[in-house]
């Protein structure tokens, strides 16, 4: 299997990471060598194996749904690259 440049561009869209042609070429090379290595899994017959989704064999605990954190609005907003009063600001999305 080979991952071509078209696939790289597609994955970059899905990942929301912009990729120029030069970077795409480098990524294609790296990903092909990594997937070459991953292909080893095909040797294994896993038809009758249940996928393991979690090693923690516990059921989730229930708890009362109540607010426990303090009001830290200011500290939270302070980390924002751009804020306006109580809002996060992003580039214009409606014309």
């Amino acid at each position: 299997m080979t991952i071509d440049l078209k696939t790289i561009k597609h994955i970059s869209k899905l990942s929301r990471i912009s990729v120029d042609d030069e970077k795409a070429k480098k990524l294609a090379g790296d990903m092909n060598s990594i997937f070459n290595f991953i292909e080893k899994l095909k040797e294994l017959d896993t038809n009758n194996v249940e996928p393991l989704t979690s090693v923690a064999e516990t059921t989730l605990k229930l708890r009362i749904d109540e607010v426990k954190s303090d009001n830290i609005k200011e500290q939270v907003l302070k980390n924002s690259p751009d804020e306006n009063e109580d809002f996060f600001v992003v580039p214009r999305v409606v014309e």
Binding site: I34, K40, L41, L44, V49, R63, I72, P81
Partner: protein, 485 residues
């Protein structure tokens, strides 16, 4: 006392409790050494002046009932620390100041410890050499231009160089045990669910665990006792009976059955690793353990499965870094453009590569072939361990297939870098605890580690085995302070 910084944690705690030294003296000693050791690049953020204030405050009103009374320590910069910058080694978080504290670090401060600063690591803990950090690579105190391992490379370097008496790292595929092995220190990856993940920058949520890194096994047991607590803020935290690991520590491991898995070898593995392992088996026998040959037949499939599962989870976890709520933002013509440029400029090469791998294996048409397949292989790997533990109490392997390498030596070939973790990754996939202890050196004098893998929740047992073997091995790290001018 002339050399506070070279004391073990246990001795340091005793000296403070006996009032032989103060928290201030101790803290000053570590700050002084930290300032002289900036060439190692172990710190991302120094918090020295706050540390000194806290030490002085501790001495004015000391509480010697605490387990870490006035002990200064630095932690991996993957743990959120309230009010202190937390970067995860990434440009995308280079100005992030958490408004909350991780549970693991909170547990440490509750016992009286004082934050010295935040230690360098591979970006988002993705790396095995600390070379993917936005803040530059870290040098190992073992030798100039030698990697300390990764991803907890700053932690390992700082610990081995006596910049901190003990530290914590995180381990997703070997990120505590491999750097411990490379720097002649002890590192424990606890059972999944043992230490809370709350407030730790997430990499791969089904694999990540925090754990102690220390100068000896006793210190390791003490810190594990402190950081391992049930936490309702982490839905995968497990409520099990935790031992008083340091109090219950014993070197009596007579009759313990230790398994030797024949599959833990790779092509071209240096003979010195084979020899180290054979020596380890002899040490274990000397301690009265019984050696049992075992088989973990799917070992060779662990690393390929890991490189599906971990990137898949990472691509999902790292979706949150979009330049809106915190961290770095790049200018874009519109919202999507802003996202794409922010992530392209904010993440480093290895992180982008793993996000892309993860996105690909989760994408439509490939999900079953890769992601589900890897989860099935993960099941087979766990079954191997379950089967082995019917016969043995613990498993002994080398920690890594080689000693530390030079900075830049493996950066151009991702797969050869990934192979560093071949002996550590199966443990994360199965959620088991494992400890790496220093056991010897290679021809160049670089440290080599042995790994002891335990049953789930059986930290006490592997700590005991490590403790007993440590006594026989008598490893001494040779560090010359070459970086101090």
């Amino acid at each position: 006392m002339s050399d506070i910084t070279s004391l073990t944690l246990t001795d340091l705690v005793k000296s403070i409790k006996d009032k032989k030294i103060s928290s201030e003296e101790t803290t000053r000693a570590f700050i002084d050494r930290g300032e002289k050791s900036r060439d190692l690049n172990a710190y991302i953020t120094e918090d020295f002046s706050n540390a000194l204030d806290k030490a002085i405050a501790f001495d004015q009103k000391p509480n010697f009932d605490l387990k870490l009374p006035g002990i200064p320590m630095a932690v991996k910069d993957l743990f959120c620390t309230n009010g202190v910058k937390t970067t995860a080694g990434s440009k995308i978080l280079n100005n992030f100041i958490p408004p909350y504290e991780s549970t693991v670090t909170q547990n440490i401060w509750n016992e009286g410890a004082i934050l010295l600063g935040k230690l360098n690591c591979d970006e988002f803990a993705m790396g095995s050499s600390n070379e993917t950090s936005f803040f530059g690579s870290v040098q190992s105190p073992i030798d100039k231009d030698l990697v300390p391992g990764g991803s907890s490379g700053g932690s390992a370097s700082a610990l081995a160089a006596n910049l901190t008496p003990i530290t914590i790292g995180t381990d997703t595929g070997g990120s505590i045990r491999q750097p411990a092995s490379f720097t002649g220190t002890v590192g424990l990856k606890p059972t999944y669910g043992s230490c809370s993940r709350y407030g730790i920058v997430a990499f791969a949520s089904s694999l990540d665990q925090a754990g102690p890194m220390s100068k000896n096994v006793k210190d390791c047991a003490l810190l594990q006792e402190i950081i391992s607590t049930y936490d309702e803020k982490d839905s995968t935290s497990i409520d099990f009976k935790r031992n008083a690991y340091s109090k219950e520590l014993t070197n009596n491991i007579k009759g313990k059955k230790i398994g030797i898995p024949k599959e833990y070898t790779v092509d071209g593995m240096p003979k010195e690793i084979e020899d180290l392992w054979a020596k380890g088996i002899e040490y274990a026998k000397d301690c009265g353990a019984e050696i049992v040959e075992i088989s973990l037949p799917h070992t060779n499939y662990a690393l390929p499965a890991y490189y599906i599962v971990a990137p898949a989870e990472a691509s999902s976890n790292l979706a949150r870094y979009d330049g809106v709520k915190y961290g770095f933002r790049s200018k874009g013509e519109n919202l999507i453009d802003m996202y794409e440029k922010t992530r392209s400029e904010g993440f480093g090469e290895e992180v982008q590569r793993r996000i892309m791998i993860g996105t690909y294996v989760l994408s439509s048409g490939y999900y079953d072939a890769y992601y589900i397949k890897a989860q099935k292989v993960r099941k087979l790997i766990k079954n191997d361990f379950d089967e082995a533990y019917k016969k043995v109490d613990a498993i002994l392997t080398p920690s890594t297939p080689s000693a530390a390498f030079k900075i830049g030596e493996k950066t151009n070939d991702p797969v050869s870098m990934y192979l560093n973790d071949i002996f550590t990754v199966p443990v994360n996939l199965a959620g088991l605890p494992a400890i790496s202890i220093p056991a010897g050196v290679d021809a160049k004098g670089y440290p080599l580690g042995l790994q002891i893998i335990g049953k789930a929740f059986d930290e006490q047992n592997i700590l005991n085995i490590a403790y007993a073997m440590e006594e026989k091995i008598e490893f001494k790290n040779k560090i010359t302070d070459w970086w101090i001018k």
